[in-house]
Amino acid sequence: MNNWVRENLWRHVLAIAVCLFSLFPLYLVVLSSLSTNGSLHLTSFVPTEFSLKNFRFLFNSPKIPFMHWVQNSLVIASTVAICSVVIGAASAFAFSRLKFKGKKFGIQLLLLVQMFPAILALSAVYVIMERVYRFAPQIGLGSQAGLVLVYLGGSMGVNIWLLKGFVDSIPAELDEAAKIDGASAVQTYWLIFVPLAAPVLAVVSLLSFIGTFNEFILARLFLVEMDGRTVAVGLQQFIGGQYSQNWGPFAAGSILASIPIVVIFLSLQKYIVNGLTAGSVKG
């Protein structure tokens, strides 16, 4: 018993304390979504009312295409998640495994460019997409496709860098062996590397998915049409109005919108943790 206390008690105490810390804001959101007064005040830690008014508002109000927003977010985020990993993984593989001239320069450039404050690039991106709109409105400002392109481009540096970090942690023995067997770099990539790195790729694409799902500064400028908005932009309008803040529907919508992500995350959590290290060469 004593041994157990010495070994494990602090683990439980710490975990429980941090769990409470994690849950506290989320608990408030739930309270707020069930309340009717539209503000985010904590009058009591015990729920005083159980009203589904806010949830009903989201689904029944003809002016609030909430399901469209969720759908848009899911489509945009999954497209970005998949494409960015498909494109990024190839580059990361090359950086990690191939030898070529200018590799060091490339890596340094990649790292440095991430340090560039991107917020002003926002204006530049706006101008570029505005121009694209003039000749190809389908992929220019205001279109979801255009936003996807911008996200893909903008996340390219980060993703390659992140993927490269993970790829480096995968032992190279297998693909070196393949190389000795006479496989080309492209074959090594598809036949050895991709299956091996699948958990890593899944994790990075999941991270990319969440990042995209969360983004709202660009999305708010890009997707102005009511039906075309993402959840983040659509919900933000409840509390970003000129005159009033309406926390109830915001909280309710946030909970609903978070559910898909949280479910994915929780159901894949083991996979995620394994993927983050990806030292699966042992098995």
Binding site: H41, Y126, R134, R220, M226, Q242, Y243
Partner: protein
């Protein structure tokens, strides 16, 4: 490149050309007037033009609603070239900035059209003597008192403070006076002005007095007298922010509050009496000023670039500024129309008229050239709230900060007058 690959390249290139040749770039939709608006006005405009599609013969009207007022402002800042709207609807915060940068185009109103509006309405739409839009509806706040707590209208600021002090404990009051809408800077002007701080003063004829500033010492002493206790701490009558004001007022925990003219109906529906009045000043018969401003419909330089300048101008002067247009629009938007003929119409409610009356008693035009100027260090929007934070929250000296505020605003006006 070997021959096989060269051939492949040829195949790809010709496939590409074949597709390219079959599709011709789509032309811009001619004679479409593009309107940008925020998340509340936009849907209302969409409804309006769905019901009245042919207000401008030969032109169609497209409304784009942004997700928030801020998002609309950001987009107006950022658009370049011709990607922006032909017309946008909103408050007048952006006129000075956008006109200065050359994004707005002037509008000419006939003398008879102008006579349908109060002359001060045009301050909100003017930059360097040119008018860039038409007034659409009135944008103001006014104070109401909760008749369940207070039975008579206060005559002076002191009356309200006395009531608060006497009933604070017994009625569990959270504050004496607060602002439910419009924010501490815009909606809260009367809180500053009632105690003597004004960003600028108007002369009798509706002309701004560009040399007069307020007296920071008098104002600071008023703040000390009415809002601070003996230790220089806030006595709780006046909160430094508007957070929670609406809920407290609804719950009967605040006797006096200002409401916006866009939201009065919510309170009327809850059973509050719409006894609108300006915030009383320290001397009986005086009032704290408030912005009696207008929302405008503004013309941008894009209309010319898109070849719809005439149609857009007609839409502004012939529809948005007209009594018929404003009555139709306000039936959806529910603010008091700016057009005097429309105001007189039977469709305007008693509450709206009371609201307009309060504006007549104590409204000042919202002059963007002064309010947006930051020559003194910070503009009105940033510094007004800053004063309350400094004095009521951080406990800085009310007179010292009051003098700073006075000096700052005087300089803002002195420099901003060049943009009138």
């Amino acid at each position: 490149m070997n021959r096989k690959r060269l051939g492949l390249f040829g195949v790809i290139a010709s496939a590409a050309l074949a597709i390219t040749a079959t599709v011709v770039p789509a032309a811009h939709a001619a004679s479409e007037i593009l309107i940008w608006a925020d998340e509340t006005r936009g849907p209302h405009l969409t409804t309006l033009f769905a019901a009245n599609p042919n207000v401008i013969p030969g032109s169609t009207i497209k409304v784009v609603s942004f997700s928030s007022y801020d998002a609309l402002g950001d987009a107006l800042d950022k658009y370049t070239g011709s990607a922006g709207p032909d017309i946008f609807i909103g408050g007048n915060d952006w006129v000075t900035k956008l006109a200065k940068s050359g994004k707005l185009a002037p509008v000419t109103l006939t003398a008879s059209q102008k006579s349908k509006f109060a002359a001060t309405n045009f301050f909100d739409l003017t930059y360097k003597k040119k008018i860039y839009g038409v007034p659409v509806d009135i944008n103001n706040v006014a104070m109401v008192y909760n008749t369940k707590l207070v039975t008579t209208a206060p005559k002076t600021y002191g009356d309200m403070v006395d009531f608060y002090k006497a009933n604070k404990v017994s009625k569990g009051l959270k504050a004496g006076l607060c602002f439910t809408g419009g924010g501490m800077a815009w909606g809260g002007l009367s809180g500053l002005s009632a105690l003597g701080a004004d960003p600028y003063f108007m002369r009798a004829k509706g002309v701004p007095d560009v040399y007069k500033g307020f007296n920071g010492t008098t104002f600071g002493n008023n703040v000390k007298k009415y809002l601070l206790d003996a230790n220089g701490k806030s006595n709780g009558f006046f909160p430094a922010t508007d957070t929670g004001c609406a809920d407290n007022f609804k719950a009967g925990l605040v006797p006096y509050a200002t409401l916006g003219n866009w939201e009065w109906k919510k309170y009327a529906d809850l059973g509050f009496t719409m006894n609108f009045m300006p915030v009383p000043g320290v001397v009986a018969g005086t009032y704290g000023h408030m912005f009696g401003s207008v929302n405008g419909a503004f013309l941008t330089t894009n209309a010319e670039k898109h070849g719809v300048a005439v149609a857009a101008k007609s839409l502004l002067t012939g529809y948005f500024a007209s009594a018929a247009g404003q009555i139709a629009y306000e039936a959806i938007e529910l603010r008091p129309p700016a057009n005097l003929d429309a105001q007189a119409s039977a469709s305007v409610s008693e509450a709206q008229k009371n609201m307009a009356n309060a504006a007549t008693l104590a409204g000042i035009p919202q002059i963007g050239a002064f309010l947006g100027s930051n020559a003194g260090g910070a503009n009105y929007w940033d510094s007004s709230g800053g004063y309350w934070t400094a004095v009521l929250v951080q406990g800085k000296d009310a007179v010292v900060e009051g003098k700073k505020l006075a000096a700052m605003w005087k300089k803002n006006v002195a420099v901003g007058k060049a943009d009138l």
